[in-house]
Symmetry: C3
Subunit: 110 residues, 3 copies
């Protein structure tokens, strides 16, 4: 009954670049919905030192069929050289899952 | 050693409806814990146009046994016609996993 | 092409304890990156009553090889008696996945 969809998380340096990436992915029909989770603080080691950065986290919801293409799209359109792109499968409620599939289907004559 | 549990995400139009849904699910013992992640901004296409909506995101933690029932409950008690309901399995630490199972067990004489 | 990594979520009572746990895990090379998702509100039943607590949510990103050790580390270094520790596998983009593995590898002469 449930429909598998794919959730993809990435982080951007600011709201402007986050908005732009979300809109471009929606325009390309590579995601049905993108949720901006707001400001997060990431901590990591860089060249042996602990660093912290404030970032904007995006959660993309797409179909299984379009997931690989969306991941490549995020990588290509991301301002970071090595962006965080994390994907996992989830079960969507039937109505929502069908909507995700419909929204990420290519138009017949594109 | 770890115990499988189910994480379920949904988004509500405001804090009031989010609080109400969270409390109802806890009262019905369909979830052990509900985390309100605060305000998020969702972007999606609607009738060919890009739309944005501010929403409240909830993360439910429940047992594998009660997961399907909780998803139906969210769908039935949600103000949207086609709510976003996304579920995936996670491994819980033993103490937390046992607590989730205990909290979502039906009382013997209910 | 994608590389499996493990995402681990936990919640702490405040920013101070959250920062401390994040730094300790990074110092121990048990995580490559820790994202502080900011303030969340958790609702749960405790001794038959509905309770609510404001908490800080952390999302750890680590390798499959170090995941079990990180979960034990969080449990041991957490101020709660029964902390929420939830882990699931995700596919990372190749560059990010390789970075996670490199950052969580033990130094040869430690």
């Amino acid at each position: 009954m449930n429909i598998p969809v794919v959730l993809i998380v990435t982080t951007l340096p600011d709201t402007l670049t986050a908005d732009k990436l979300a809109r471009k992915a929606l325009d390309a029909r590579l995601a049905a919905c993108v949720t901006e989770n707001g400001l997060v603080r990431s901590r990591y080691r860089w060249q042996g030192k602990l660093e912290a950065a404030e970032e904007i986290q995006l959660l993309f919801k797409t179909s299984v069929a379009r997931s690989a293409e969306l991941q490549c799209f995020i990588e290509s359109n991301h301002p970071y050289e090595t962006p965080e792109i994390l994907a996992w499968q989830a079960d969507a409620s039937p109505g929502y899952g069908q909507w995700v599939i419909a929204e990420t289907s290519r138009p017949l004559h594109a």
